[in-house]
């Protein structure tokens, strides 16, 4: 290579060396008789100094230069960057390529609309913050692969062209040219393939793999996303959780330098719903949700009287929330189908707020005792059906933390959520469906009656949660064909449907399967959290916008009739 060094490596140790650098013009400036250029590449910035005899009028920001010169000591040093003690006295300067004025300045904090950034993504990716995000992702991948290879896992690729099966999200389809009228489906996950690897005796499998779900897009969803997928034989749910726990701690240490020594907390799904109002609790802050029906059973407060089967759910914030805060929080409650967010404020002297003045002495005393109130505090209440009240309070709880600025990105709070329900009731289909997927092993205590007592059946499934985001999950699998049959019966699959959709898969379990369990981690989301990014698009080189469109290439796009003809399809 022609360059002798990158723009990020020369220091005082290189004084008097002749060097060749190549990079982009970050800035040109004139100071007295001298011209200065900051030359930038992925590795850093180096200052060039050029005497006035050279005409630099034509050189502008983002030009690509090659310079030859001598490393000399700088007069005014910049100790914040590695190269800040030296500069290059340029002897020869060549313009490798020119640049038009870029649509936005190449710097970390820009005010461009995201659409503009995505349209010119190749320029957006010149910004240091974006390069750091991609570098972090590359590093994270390597930590993951090294971990699994060290532990005897094999990396195996699974097909992108698979078969469409029900019981999941909507599939993306690919029409087949060679097989008229037929379609491949893109995998929502390599679930069935990895289970087959265990039947094959491959023992331990992992893969970093693209998966696809044709769902409506949200802030943290893309039509294609990347998973770390793994499966272990002769391993149960506990073994997999142990392995993933080690991995995630290693990732956090490698990327953030944070050493998590304690075992990751295990919280049952029921406890999580009860204390945090959701199954992905953010544990960077407290404010656990309490049920106060017992406390208000003789109350005179109308809101809490005659509530029948409803629950009074409350959290206590050790801070006096403002009127504006409370308005915002009420809005959050409303978005979660609960109209009234009552509150009581206590300034260690006096109770105020929508119900503060109406509290009896007994209620006041009990609230102070229950919430261990020692500072000025605000208690927030909702009254509603238990799950609705809990979910609304969970959302309020998260919003409070945002308002109070408690979401420190350098704290990493992990939790396992366990004992998930095995089924959930689909109002749409009017039947129970598998909450995780229909290959999930029932919990030991549900094994007897999971197919008759579906409401209460629990699963050997587990999710891992980081700072309020579900970052992965898995389960122990059913390896006994009889249990699998009961599971399919329980979700109301008919023999014909089973044969058509899963026959080939169930057949495999007739030939000697080990017990096995696995897990998948959402790498886009994990990388988003590790880099303190606002959304997953910030850690994806070329993401789609919320309509599934690539602003840069304009994909998806129309195609020719010839192309459709060859695929034996036409537009509706």
């Amino acid at each position: 290579m022609k360059r002798t060094h990158t723009c990020g490596e020369l220091t005082i140790k290189n004084i008097n060396q002749k060097v060749i650098l190549q990079g982009w013009v970050k800035k040109v400036r004139k100071l007295g008789a001298m011209n200065f250029i900051d030359l930038r590449d992925r590795y850093g910035v180096t200052q060039l100094v050029i005497d006035e005899s050279k005409n630099l009028e034509n050189i502008k920001s983002e030009y690509v230069l090659e310079v030859e010169g001598m490393v000399i000591e700088r007069k005014s040093k910049n100790l914040e960057i590695k190269t800040g003690e030296i500069e290059i006295k340029v002897e020869k300067l060549t313009v490798i390529n020119k640049s038009e004025l870029t649509p936005f300045e190449i710097k970390d904090n820009i005010e461009s609309q995201e659409d503009t950034r995505l349209t010119y993504r190749y320029l957006d990716l010149r910004r240091e913050v974006m390069q750091k995000n991609l570098l972090t992702r590359s590093k994270m991948n390597q930590t993951i692969r090294n971990y699994f290879l060290k532990n005897n896992f094999i990396e195996i690729e699974t097909p992108i062209f698979g078969k469409s099966t029900p019981e999941g999200a909507r599939d993306f389809l690919v029409p087949s040219r060679l097989n008229e009228g037929k379609f491949y489906a893109l995998p929502q996950s390599p679930q069935l393939y990895k289970q087959l690897f265990m039947i094959s005796g491959l023992d331990r499998y992992f893969q970093i793999v693209k998966c696809f779900r044709d769902e409506d897009l949200r802030i943290d969803r893309q039509p294609e996303f990347t998973q770390l997928d793994m499966e272990m034989s002769f391993a149960n749910d506990q073994d997999v959780m142990k392995s993933i726990e080690q991995l995630i701690k290693k990732i956090i240490f490698d990327i953030k330098g944070i050493k998590i020594k304690k075992p990751i907390r295990k919280i049952t799904w029921k406890e999580s719903m009860d204390k945090y109002g959701n199954d992905k609790p953010d544990l960077r802050f407290g404010f656990e949700i309490e049920t106060l029906n017992y406390l208000f059973k003789d109350t005179e407060i109308p809101l809490f009287s005659n509530i029948e089967n409803k629950s009074i759910r409350a959290i206590c914030i050790n801070s006096m929330l403002t009127k504006k805060d409370l308005e915002e929080l009420t809005e959050v409650a409303k978005q979660n189908s609960v109209n009234i967010l009552a509150f009581a404020k206590y300034d260690l002297n006096d109770w105020t707020g929508s119900i503060g003045s109406k509290l009896s002495d007994f209620e006041k005393k009990e609230l102070i005792k229950l919430f261990k109130i020692k500072n000025e505090s605000t208690i927030l209440f909702v009254v509603d059906e238990y799950f609705r009240a809990s979910q609304a309070m969970g959302a309020v709880r998260n919003k409070v933390a945002k308002i109070l600025n408690l979401l420190d990105q350098d704290i990493m709070e992990l939790a396992w959520i366990i004992d998930f329900p095995l089924f959930e009731f689909s109002e749409e289909e009017n039947r129970f469906v598998a909450a995780h997927h229909p290959f999930t092993m029932p919990a030991d205590k549900s094994l007897e009656d999971f197919d008759t007592n579906k409401e209460n059946a629990l699963a050997k499934a587990y999710d891992i949660v980081l700072n309020g985001f579900e970052i992965g999950g898995g389960s122990q699998r059913i390896t006994d064909p009889k249990i699998q049959q009961r599971m399919f019966d329980a979700i109301g699959l008919k023999k014909e449907e089973i044969d058509t959709n899963f026959g080939w898969f169930l057949n495999a379990y007739k030939y000697g399967a080990p017990y096995h369990a696995g897990c998948a981690l959402g790498l886009d989301r994990i990388c988003m959290l590790l880099t303190s990014s606002e959304n997953i698009r910030e850690v994806i080189a070329f993401p789609k916008n919320s309509s599934g469109i690539d602003n840069m290439t304009n994909a998806p796009d129309k195609v020719s009739t010839l192309q459709l003809d060859q695929l034996h399809i036409k537009l509706k």
Copy 2:
């Protein structure tokens, strides 16, 4: 984990240890009063010994067992396997899962049809040879990633959902639900994305990535295939070849233990076509093709007389080919549109064969001199238009090596093919098209006139060849918008087509691009060669058959009308 060891690790050092093993029954046999079971897992086989008090009648091949017992020294040792000096005296035996009779025996050499193997791929992958192939692939991937990460490359993922563009093979399409009437295309390679990374200043990119081409399938093609893709900034064709050369040597060393010290030979495309009749020469053997028109200019052999513009092309084999050999070779020539394969045999005494007796003394002497004949030899001749004759002779040359059993899989002969033509003429479209792709830089000597002298224009493109297979290729890219415009003009693209299909891409080059070059390697094929496999399906966990069908899942398959409706398409 419950097992204390795998089935592949216990040795004489573990004598008297209590162990727990889990695995598959490879074989059950009774010897006197004792029962023996070979227990198998991915890591090896361990012999179990069970006294006759235990009833083993129900235990059959491929059952999954867990055994607890003591490691003892074997009486009759098997020194060919690591565990061959010990056996486990079983104290407790549990059947984890049963197995029906498998459709084929789980052993390396089986006679099943490939269709059967693919239908029961999960059992096929139990065979040691298949597990070794997948392990090799996992190891190869890791060698590749370690190499690039060590050299400051970043691993970056590119989208699977892209835009359909002309100037390549046929795209696979994915109908968009959210954007009616529009389609994503699956990438044939991440070519444009990786070039954009260079414009972004990411400097060095690599990725192991799935690519897709909707072509008719052949023995070494799959609809989805895996590439190592890389690109380097401030690097030219030579820099990239150097980097890939180091990598491929490292892969061969890591996997095969073969150390290749010599630099890889560089052969121009023209020389390769001339000497070997193709652009992917197998250099494990000689038999270079010669043009003999000068030698036969005064000949009396009718076949070689009055041949006008045709070429007499010949190879000499240092062996007396049999009649059967020659019939097979003639068949190969015919498959390559050349009807007559003439031959002369020389037993150091006498000339025989279809033209042997007709050779003049001068011709005999010159042939001996030219081919440096020292042993019994057979010379093969074809007469035809130069390229057709060369290609036929290239195919004959490869077939000879197969017949003579010269294709030693443990010899790894690499070559770079360079100086490719920039264009090739498409009879179908009646125009010149880019031979590599339209972003390939013309060779220095073609830079002036590549768009006017298309027949002779050469490219800064390079292929790497291993044992007669093209395993990868790349090029230096056009980074000057003016040259790119001339290229598009040369292949007859109209302004409108350019704007629609490549406008977004060309625009990026206006903002300061470094010069850059890259390469892609076909990992399925490389792994096939490293494992001495017959075809690429042997190194892919779940491949498609030659009709693009997965025999196991029966993908692609019909989908519901509802699914098609949601995608705004219908069957034709």
